[in-house]
């Protein structure tokens, strides 16, 4: 009985918090499916009574008249997100393994640099990044939206912490059997650290899917810009209510994939961050 009473207290604290967290998301979902009539209703309604796909249709049709169709931005974003996620997982896995299980000169320095870079704020160095992209000849190149995002100190840190928990004997046994280092990495270490890789995948996907920096600064060709950038340019003028419906539809497309991915992978993520401590 005492236990139950204790929990009630927590429900009372949590309910308003959860409502504040949830309602804006629910509102966007409702908004995206409203017809023009319902968007114009006064006072504005929270719940959509007659859901339609009008806003989505308008999002994809209206702009087919302009030079770059919306689907082009969307395809670009999908490609960017897939490439960044795949590459970030791959290089974080191999770097994390080396930094956890190998001993070589310079390792301490690299670890310290990576740990310092955990607090790195990408936006603070947009200018030199722009200059580096320019000097590499990557302006207006699709790669400029991928390469700057794949080195993730946080990911390497999480993978390294996770691999620290893998017994060395397992790796040595494989080595004695004559397995090459690459075989060990992909056949023995990788299956064990899947939870950490799932976490890296989420973080990488999130940063790539939402990224506007490259489209804004490095690229002038509309045909290779990202969906998030497109949304930021339309939502800058959401004066009319029907435009609000369209941008709600667009932001739903921006929001849903990440949340679905997290729901699928959440158990693995929690398993990984349990190892995340900085000592």
């Amino acid at each position: 009985m005492k236990k139950k009473k204790g929990l009630l207290k927590f429900y009372i604290i949590l309910t308003p918090v959860i409502l504040v967290m949830l309602l804006p998301l629910v509102y966007v979902i409702f908004h995206a499916f409203k017809s023009t009539n319902e968007l114009n209703a006064y006072p504005p309604q929270f719940i959509t009574l007659h859901p339609t796909l009008d806003n989505f249709k308008r999002l994809f049709l209206l702009d087919s008249q302009s030079v770059t169709p919306v689907s082009s931005y969307l395809v670009n974003s999908v490609l960017i997100a897939l490439a960044v996620t795949f590459l970030a997982v791959l290089i974080s896995l191999s770097a994390g393994y080396v930094l956890s299980k190998k001993n070589f000169r310079g390792k301490k320095g690299i670890l310290a640099a990576n740990q310092t870079a955990l607090m790195f704020v990408p936006v603070a160095v947009a200018i030199p990044r722009f200059l580096i992209i320019k000097n590499l000849g990557l302006t207006d190149n699709f790669l400029s939206q991928i390469l700057p995002l794949i080195a993730m100190p946080v990911s390497v840190f999480l993978v390294k912490q996770f691999i620290d928990g893998v017994p060395l004997s397992l790796i040595e046994a494989a080595r004695i059997d004559g397995a090459s280092e690459f075989l060990i990495l992909f056949k023995i270490v990788m299956p064990i650290v899947m939870p950490a890789l799932a976490t890296v995948a989420i973080l990488a996907f999130q940063s790539a899917w939402n990224s506007v920096e490259a489209s804004q600064y490095f690229i002038s060709d509309e045909g290779i810009k990202s969906f998030a950038y497109y949304l930021s340019s339309v939502s800058a003028n959401t004066a009319s209510l029907s435009a609000q419906g369209v941008s709600a539809a667009a932001s739903l497309i921006l929001i849903v994939p990440g949340i679905v991915l997290f729901i699928i992978l959440q158990a693995r993520v929690l398993n990984t961050v349990a190892h995340s401590g900085i000592k």
């Binding site: 509102y27 006072p43 607090m119 030199p128 794949i150 939402n210 921006l254 729901i263 929690l270």
Partner: protein, 296 residues
């Protein structure tokens, strides 16, 4: 060849990460530091001006001192520590619940942190829309709280509080998850021992048992909170629809950097601002390390 690859496998495996790390993280930071001593318009070769940019920041830049700096400090102090404490408290409360409910609520609380500044700005600009059809306005008017719609996002008084609210709303990210698993993994026996030693209530339990035994997660959470504070650069600009924000009301140091770097092309000056920001972040994280580092 194969033997060579295997012998130096650690460098081969490290290389892709290291190359990208150097190119897009280390080099930009160093370049920022160097450019901050120059006058540079991105076209002609940078001219060395030594400390002039820094002196200008602290003596000549009125907007920086009257608007940007106070805004940034207010924003950072509330969103950083505030978001962090909120993350910890929510993590602690969730840890008291059963597994299914805990998982569902953790997903709800974590979800907003997955939104980039674009999605954040779109959602909230619909809710805070300034005409009477805006959701917040119509609710407040129908409740009789006010008579006229408020232009929440384009008024220099309300923009900053809204930015702070939105940033807090989306601050329960990977640091929150780390602290949640930290609380869950505290050894049960420690609590029993602590009660024998005279701990009397839940609050003392948190202070004397929970936090000390999850110090590493607390530190990770603190570093993530710090980074997260400055990671929605476009928020104010996108909410209000302009850079500079109306009356500089929501202008943070990051927008000031953008303004000088990419709108006025005074990249030397903008780089000096970057260095100031990076030093600020670094000092704050030293503070977090001091607080939570293993003292043994």
């Amino acid at each position: 060849m194969k033997a060579f690859l295997n012998k130096y496998s650690h460098w081969v495996m490290l290389f892709p990460f290291l190359a990208c790390f150097v190119l897009f993280i280390l080099l930009p930071v160093l370049a920022s530091a160097l450019l901050s001593f120059t006058k540079f318009d991105s076209v002609s070769w940078p001219q060395l001006v030594w400390l002039k940019n820094y002196i200008d920041i602290f003596t000549a830049d009125k907007i920086f001192f009257q608007k940007v700096l106070p805004n940034t400090i207010t924003y950072a102090l509330i969103v950083g520590p505030g978001g962090y404490i909120l993350s910890f408290l929510l993590a602690w409360v969730l840890a008291q619940l059963g597994k299914t409910l805990r998982t569902v609520l953790a997903i709800i609380i974590y979800s907003p942190s997955m939104l980039g500044s674009v999605a954040l700005a779109t959602i909230w600009s619909v809710l805070f829309s300034g005409d009477k059809g805006g959701y917040l306005n119509s609710v407040l008017i129908s409740l009789g709280v006010m008579n006229e719609p408020v232009a929440w996002l384009t008024s220099s008084e309300t923009l900053l509080p809204i930015m702070i609210f939105v940033a807090m709303w989306s601050s329960m990210g990977v640091g929150f998850l780390a602290m949640l698993s930290g609380v869950l993994n505290v050894d049960r026996e420690l609590y029993e021992a602590a009660y024998l030693d005279g701990v009397k209530n839940r609050f003392q339990e948190i202070i004397y048992v929970t936090i000390p035994s999850m110090r590493p997660q607390m530190l990770f959470g603190a570093v993530m909170a710090l980074v997260g504070t400055f990671n929605s650069p476009g928020l104010g600009v996108m909410l209000s629809g302009s850079n500079p924000t109306p009356g500089y009301g929501g202008q943070l140091i990051i927008n000031h950097i953008d303004d000088y770097g990419f709108l006025r092309y005074e990249m030397g000056y903008a780089s000096a601002l970057c260095v100031v920001l990076l030093i600020f972040v670094w000092l704050s994280s030293r503070g977090a390390y001091k607080l939570f580092e293993d003292k043994d």
